[in-house]
């Protein structure tokens, strides 16, 4: 089979997903705390701190503006950390993949399970932040329930992109490049803290190509109870990132593990 072959997908990913779930259940409490602490501190710190200086942003209170961005970037982060650090541990450090590949389960199933599991983590962290937002009264609309499937979609996109890095990584240090050069710029350019329209036009063009921008363009109206403009475009971009990155990462993993 060529390394470029079409992905062979099956339900065999399910026992691997269940393995990850069983591991997660054992560390659920610290994990949930981890999902919540960072984004909630950012949201409250910046929300109260900057919010007191800014009367409103994008037609809403700064805290509410920040809430939508926070859900998106925390889902991005949890999928990225899972796909990079935990994925690399399973592939390289613990040799979990090697053990699985000695069974009838194939590499395509393993990679699919990694993406679906990282997206599951996104779903959990996105939902956790969402609950805090509801409790704080920062979103009153039922439309905000759409954030739950959106968190899954954001997770799928960033898990797939992150796995490309995992497939290329010689060691953990390598992931610093990705976080410094890709994830942090996205957090600052894609409209988490301020509207993308504040950027110079050339940077707006760059931002419009990045997946997090499209996630936030969907999230902010939903949190506010509106139907997002150009919904299909944004969903399409996130799906395209997912599918292309999944295929690229799969090809790279096939190459890496064929030695």
């Amino acid at each position: 089979m060529s390394i470029f072959a079409f992905p062979q997908l099956s339900l065999r990913f399910l026992p691997i997903w269940r393995r990850h779930w069983l591991v997660w259940k054992k560390i659920a409490a610290p994990s949930i705390l981890g999902h919540l602490a960072d984004p909630v501190i950012y949201m409250l710190g910046l929300g109260y701190g900057l919010g007191s200086l800014l009367p409103e942003m994008g037609g809403m209170s700064y805290m509410a503006f920040l809430a939508a961005g926070t859900v998106c970037y925390s889902t991005m982060n949890s999928a990225s950390f899972e796909a990079l650090y935990s994925g690399f541990a399973r592939m390289h450090e613990q040799r979990t993949w090697e053990a699985i590949l000695n069974t009838p389960v194939g590499l395509d199933d393993v990679v699919l399970s990694e993406i679906l599991w990282a997206a599951t983590k996104s779903l959990m962290s996105g939902t956790a932040v969402l609950v805090v937002i509801w409790v704080l009264g920062l979103s009153h609309s039922l439309m905000s329930l759409w954030m739950i499937p959106l968190a899954l979609l954001i997770g799928l996109a960033f898990a797939s992109i992150g796995l490309i890095m995992t497939a290329l990584a010689p060691a953990y240090d390598f992931f610093m490049y990705y976080f410094t050069l890709i994830i942090t710029p996205m957090m600052l350019l894609c409209g988490v803290f301020f509207p993308v329209t504040q950027l110079p036009e050339s940077m707006q063009v760059v931002a419009s190509l990045l997946p997090l921008t499209h996630a936030i363009d969907l999230a902010r109206p939903l949190m506010n109870g509106d139907i997002p403009p150009q919904t299909l475009l944004h969903i399409g971009v996130l799906l395209a990132y997912t599918l292309v990155a999944f295929y690229v990462s799969l090809v790279l993993f096939r190459r890496r593990l064929s030695r």
Binding site: R12, P15, V23, R95, E98, A99, P104
Partner: protein, 304 residues
């Protein structure tokens, strides 16, 4: 009856270096077959091709009458693997490792759970059922890895250096279990560089070097075909001088390694009688073993 594992002209290169070079192998049902060779001889690559984990550049492989890697998935349903390095799940208990692994074979939880007590008993781990993997000793981890390889009740078991890094007690326990498996009619393919392990366990052996099979047969046949039946090892500061003056007279073949001289002879009596008179030298007379064959075939110099 068809062989259970078959390789015909297998070939694999990495970066221009031919790791496996035209390998033919045929392993019968119920056999314990040992693949010997120095580090880098191509043993692990051979196992990976026979398992269908990597595709050969040339040649073909059959596993349980199925072509691999094409039908590797179907074949591996009936295969167990003990890898060279432990890859147990460190987050899980002993029993959870077995349960989770059984699921990869499509087994229902109830099916695996029904097998767990007998697997734990086989691995002498019954009392460790709920222990976490990091708390186990090296020998226990190996036994758990072996039990995990049996979770699907395989017909064929691949073992890549199953006892490397274990103490003698732990090795003997593993050997006992592997013998029990061959008695149950399972086919075993193992790699090792412990000659005593190969001699005790394997019905047939193949010695590999530089990607090629250089000799094949039962342990006894390998010794008979490749080497004189008796070995006299001579030690002492003056052994080198002794060797240059006398060894050729008494021995069909001899090798000097540091302060030891290995004399390979058909009849050891004249040499032993001569050595008894040499007070400055010590000697050891013993029958030739597999290690002698191995060193003759693959040389004494270091490989790494």
């Amino acid at each position: 009856m068809n062989p259970v594992i078959q390789a015909i002209g297998l070939q694999k290169s990495y970066g221009g270096h031919r790791v496996v070079d035209g390998l033919d192998l045929s392993i019968r049902k119920g056999e314990c077959f040992g693949l010997l060779g120095p580090n880098g001889a191509g043993k692990t690559t051979t196992l990976r091709m026979l398992l269908g984990l990597i595709a050969p550049d040339a040649g073909r492989a059959m596993l349980l009458d199925l072509p691999v890697p094409q039908a590797a998935r179907e074949a591996r349903i009936r295969v167990g693997v003990v890898p060279q390095m432990d890859n147990l799940d460190p987050d899980f208990t002993v029993a959870e490792n077995l349960l989770v692994y059984g699921r990869y074979f499509g087994m229902k939880d109830s099916e695996v759970e029904a097998r767990i007590p007998s697997l734990l008993e086989f691995a002498s781990l019954t009392s460790k059922r709920d222990a976490k993997v990091p708390t186990l000793s090296g020998g226990m981890k190996r036994r758990l890895t072996l039990a995990r390889a049996l979770v699907n009740d395989p017909d064929v078991i691949f073992l890549d250096e199953p006892t490397t890094g274990l103490d003698p007690q732990a090795r003997h326990l593993i050997w006992q279990r592997l013998r029990a498996l061959t008695q149950q009619g399972k086919t075993l393919l193992l790699t090792t560089h412990f000659m005593d392990e190969a001699e005790r366990l394997c019905h047939r052996l193949a010695v590999m070097d530089n990607g090629k099979l250089i000799s094949q047969g039962s342990p006894r046949e390998l010794i008979e075909q490749n080497i004189e039946p008796q070995v006299v090892e001579v030690f002492g500061e003056t052994s080198g001088q002794w060797a240059s003056e006398h060894a050729a007279h008494y021995a069909q073949r001899f090798e000097v390694s540091g302060e030891s001289v290995f004399c390979y002879v058909r009849d050891a009596q004249p040499l032993v009688a001569h050595l008894q008179a040499q007070t400055a030298l010590r000697y050891l007379h013993r029958p030739a073993n597999l290690e002698d064959v191995f060193l003759k075939l693959t040389g004494r110099e270091m490989r790494e």
